[in-house]
Assembly symmetry: C2
Homo-oligomer: 469 residues x 2
């Protein structure tokens, strides 16, 4: 398989939007040696056993194991409940939104390709209760996903699902309806899975949650929903192959990393908007939003200085957000870099066959095909943004298929790793969420957090003054 993504970045450059807002070829050339050096470092780290996410497309044994498992329970389940949050669910959601029928859960079983899918990410009692009431519990597979088993939201949702399932089918049978995707050796969920005899799949050691989409974390739910996971991995491998060049102007991941970081650091583009012109690709933008924010939003540089780095990723959807955000993007502060995603050939065509007589202003829609309209809206938006000197670039895909989705996943992950190098921050880990996590544990009365709980319980003397009720 060959990579098929096309990137047109002219509108992000000074040639199109002027020197004040555009990235120049001189800027890109200036960063080229750094990019090439970091490319060497990344490959060396991979060779030394790090950057393990890069090897996920090669795990054919895992694919076989997943497909064998899905095959072994074929027809057994009407419902599939995925329990996971952040990196443990965003990849699967993105994949299934892109590649399954848009109303998958409403289709009859025979046309759906697997059971209905429900995601319990948030511990929202209204959603959780509704989900568990809706599922046909004797025919429901629960897939809980957390590497450590420490994630409060996931474990709370899982314990609720478990007790509900046990009440419906008994403890022994419930254990057979639970699949845990977790660390192969360590952690609370591993302990529990071993004790209760769940089927398990591994969260690969040495990769962050937000890098797991091409592991069992993302692939098992996708396979369960009938997605061609081999095709996804082939697409990712094709993009990996394409990204073997150290040249910033030839390597799509490095080019996008360089344009984005340079636009932020030297042209004040603090936000990176990703706006696909296809409902099916909206989930990818949400997955990328986590990746870019959590990887690059860092207080400390690699040499320990306070830098408060990071560009804010924003998800948008064309053409809908032309009627919501484009006014701001065009006339508001010029502080955004905008990535449009165009689709050459949608998977369906829908044509306006005729227009009503006597309303000449509608005549232009006669014979219009919706995909063509959407594509022209994308072009028109790129043009209008450029006229207003707002830097933007367009990624074009030939169509939406498993290979393309795999390409996006690999592209964006490598772009983010290079983004970390250009910001000079560690793209892995998320030290900034510890404080809030600990505060939640404290408020929930977890043992060992008593001191923090006492601190949190202090109501400021002036609290009422700032309260409007």
């Amino acid at each position: 398989m060959q990579s098929r993504l096309v990137i047109d970045y002219r509108n992000a450059t000074d040639v199109a939007v002027g020197t004040e807002h555009g990235v120049s070829l001189a800027m890109l050339n200036a960063v080229a040696p750094k990019v090439a050096a970091e490319h060497g470092r990344i490959l060396a780290e991979r060779a030394a056993g790090d950057q393990r996410w890069m090897n996920l497309p090669d795990d054919h044994a895992l694919v076989e194991a997943i497909l064998a498992f899905v095959d072994s329970v074929k027809g057994r389940y009407s419902d599939y409940v995925l329990i996971g949050i952040g990196g443990s669910s965003l990849g699967a959601i993105a994949t299934i939104m892109a590649l399954a029928h848009p109303y998958r859960n409403l289709l009859p079983a025979g046309k759906r390709g697997g059971p209905r899918l429900f995601v319990l990410d948030n511990p929202d009692p209204e959603k959780v209760k509704a989900t568990l009431e809706l599922c046909d519990l004797p025919n429901t597979l629960v897939n809980v996903i957390t590497k450590s088993g420490q994630t409060a939201e996931t474990m709370a949702n899982f314990l609720v699902a478990k007790q509900t399932l046990e009440a419906a089918v008994g403890k022994e049978r419930a254990s057979k309806q639970i699949v845990a995707t977790t660390d192969p050796k360590d952690g609370l969920l591993r302990q529990l899975a071993d004790a209760e005899g769940y089927t398990t799949f591994p969260v690969p050691p040495g990769v962050d949650g937000r890098q797991t989409v091409l592991s069992a974390v993302g692939l098992l739910p996708a396979a369960f929903c009938g997605i061609d996971i081999r095709g996804m991995l082939d697409g990712a491998a094709a993009m990996r192959e394409r990204c073997m060049t150290p040249e910033v102007l030839e390597n799509p991941a490095y080019l996008l990393a360089a344009i984005s970081v340079l636009a932020d650091q030297q042209r004040g583009k603090r936000m990176l908007v990703t706006m696909p012109y296809a409902d099916a690709l909206f989930g990818i933008t949400d997955w990328f939003r986590q990746l870019w924010a959590e990887s690059l939003g860092k207080r400390l540089s690699l040499d320990g200085k306070e830098v408060f780095a990071g560009q804010t990723p924003i998800k948008a959807l064309g053409a809908i957000d032309q009627h919501s955000q484009i006014q701001l993007y065009t006339e508001g502060p010029n502080d955004k870099l905008i990535s449009l995603i165009a689709v050459d050939q949608y998977r369906d065509t829908v044509t306006v066959e005729s227009v009503p007589a006597g309303i000449p202003d509608l005549d232009y829609l006669k014979g219009a095909e919706l995909g063509q309209l959407l594509d022209r809206e994308c072009l028109a938006t790129a043009w209008a943004l450029t006229q207003a000197k707002r830097p933007n670039f367009t990624i074009t895909v030939p169509t939406i298929d498993a290979g393309i989705i795999g390409e996006f996943f690999y592209l964006y992950q490598l772009q983010t790793v290079m983004g970390g190098a250009l910001y000079n921050v560690m793209p892995f880990g998320q030290p900034g969420v510890e404080a809030g996590k600990n505060a939640t544990y404290a408020l929930m009365g977890r043992s060992g957090y008593e001191k923090l709980k006492a601190e949190l319980s202090v109501v400021p003397a002036d609290a009422e003054r700032f309260r409007l009720s």
Copy 2:
């Protein structure tokens, strides 16, 4: 009905996050005379027949007409297709997401409260085709919503739905299954509706699309889905009553407008994140995102100077985005004001009854109730953001019901009108989208746009140089 929203803004002030990042009472007091004067202007404009959105909660005749229509076709339709984009669909989506069952379309007809709802906002051929194939066309009501009938996306989708419906049930019967929400007198859709004899409801003259949620635009779909629209209007009226004071520290809409604009202009908070801790409230943030962006994102001030105003609204969801965006919000650039929305009492309670023996690290979840967990996550996030000197405030609602949703709609609309005054820009209109709209017309071959089409067809000589394929 009394307004029940509570605002706690201490964490947005210098008292909590320091003078560099917090808004001070002195700053709020300094803006108070301007706010009071603008309050007077707004009321005077209302008295003179402008600011008509403020009167929508009083249109009881409209409510009766809507409920009578819904009642007259009760049980007649299994499916309801809403065709509209931007202000013509975001309000209905927000309302129904907040107040209907989270899996409404999956429920059996008897438990659903009205037909299944499908929204055709984007002219995405994949989604449009899937929707029309899924609907039981002889029993489908199509509601097309556009004031002018000029909106290309809406009219294209509507013409496709119309031809599909006509093919299924014939032209005469199809006309009876179409309801047009449009200008009472003018425009292309009005012409068409009159010619074909559709039932129509009015888009109120003198209000922008993004102010129509409490008109037939938002209320008809809500009523069709079984929502208590009287309760919504009562909530909006209660908030209007509460907002009759000119005092910035007492008026919730003016307080939030002042904090947000001051945080942007004097403390560099270019982004306003809205992060409810409830899946049901996520649609409100998307509706608000259009309102804040399109109203305030303006190139020119009221006195005609180039100001490029506007704060970028961002939608987030607690607790999910703690696992996606909070790392960036806490450790990245301190350029955001974050609005958390907490819920005192969710509409369901779900309790973790027991935890597995032998895994002490899970003991803290024993007896945990999910709503309580979510509420504590919200508190913990507010605390952690404040520790990191990131300004934030919390809006607390007693529960999620029709009145509260009405309160939010009115609150945010008035906040936005005052926001316009504080930015010194015109909050109505969206001049910045014209260029893109015209370019779309040109590319679609609409007559009168030939010159622009020629201009758009020029391929730059250096196009290939900036293309990576």
